[in-house]
Subunit: 246 residues, 2 copies
């Protein structure tokens, strides 16, 4: 999934790499049509953000890492776009934080679950959840509600990058601490998160891993104080201001 | 291509219809992967615009209609997204303004040209240009440069909805009067247009047709005065203000 044909010095490297990975995801049957449209929406918001990790997002990424580290049962939810864009990066984050990985799709088909699991395995993941689907998120219709009972079903902290609004709200209503990566700070997903991260996935996931590694030796009090210092409303309004300003 | 399953009273009717048409376009081999991503970018900007035709866009649509009516050789350039989203609407605009239709693709393949021509024929078009490709736009590489010599090549006024920035700039450099529909007022396409229309295609094309019908009996002086009154910079800064404001 690397792209030898795109030189790292290219001014549009990140954007071209993203495009390359998402299209390869379609060709492999990992990314859906809805996923491509969602990618475009993200691109537009990232363009308005200046295509950089703003300070409040960097802080949110550190807070999210602290949440994962102090959780009893942290789970990273992976959909088609996440698997296509950051397969190795999500495996590294799981390792750095002791999190489980669960493949969980808005448009669920067993074939697509299978292909995503295989894709993550090729990038170093083992013991990937999401195929059992023996748990349900209350308040969602049947297919949308499916989770693994011992995965997202049992999680106290869940990272849901690029999640649909209905599902993000339903997960938050279950009392789970929800960490959301979403480039639109006005989205319901971002609004319902305990920690909204308004940043490009391709920058956010490696940043979270770096923070988790720096915090590996932090004690419970230090993690608590990082988590307690965070205000989601301030982070969201900062991101919206950055998007709106010229 | 109509959608009997989406009731017109649905609060998200326009958005759902758009989504339905663009996905059907993919299934028919009309819309490309790049087209789906572009669709998502447009959705994000439309969301920030309030998903309505702002006054300055309505004015630009009237001015664009006047340009087409007074042109010697007006051409409507149609790509995969335009064909998927507004096939009948583009045929009606061509009829109302005496314009030619040319299928012209950023990622040109003869198969896709063929399918788009067929799709437009099913929606009432006849004599569609774009298959000859015997003309070239100077300053673009081979495949990107292709146009019909007696279509866009000979046009004095060209409507390029949803066009790539390089191509929009190259067409403007040829001295053609360029009418651009683009939801991002900061894009190079919008910036290089004589008439930038910052509006959703699905609203813009029928509006232009309505204006063209109202202006059908206008004389040359009236059309000239409508065209001369327009300032693209003012229209762009108004649209950007609307996108940035909360």
């Amino acid at each position: 999934m690397s792209s030898p044909e795109i030189p790292k010095s290219h001014p549009r490297y990140e954007s071209l790499l993203t495009r390359h990975r998402i299209e390869a995801g379609v060709d492999r049957g990992i990314t859906s049509k809805q996923g491509l449209i969602a990618q475009g929406r993200g691109e537009a918001f990232d363009y308005l953000l200046g295509e950089e990790t703003i300070d409040s997002a960097e802080e949110a990424e550190r807070v999210a890492a602290a949440h994962l580290l102090r959780a009893d049962h942290p789970v990273l939810s992976v959909n088609g776009n996440v698997a296509a864009l950051t397969p190795r990066e999500i495996v590294e984050l799981a390792e750095a934080t002791g999190s489980d990985i669960e493949v969980n799709l808005f448009n669920r088909t067993e074939g697509r679950i299978e292909r995503i699991v295989e894709h993550l395995r090729e990038h170093g993941a083992s013991d990937i959840k999401g195929k059992t689907a023996d748990g349900r998120i209350p308040g969602l219709d049947h297919e949308r509600a499916k989770v693994d009972a011992d995965g997202i079903g049992a999680a106290d902290v869940v990272l849901v990058p690029l999640e649909d609004g209905d599902r993000a709200e339903a997960l938050a209503s279950m009392g789970k601490t929800e960490l959301v990566i979403d480039l639109n700070p006005m989205s319901r997903s971002a609004q319902s998160a305990a920690v909204p991260i308004v940043d490009n996935l391709i920058r956010a996931i490696p940043n979270m891993t770096e923070h988790a590694r720096s915090l590996a030796d932090a004690d419970g009090d230090e993690l608590d104080s990082i988590v307690d210092s965070f205000d989601p409303k301030t982070a969201l309004s900062d991101a919206e201001r950055r998007i709106r300003e010229e």
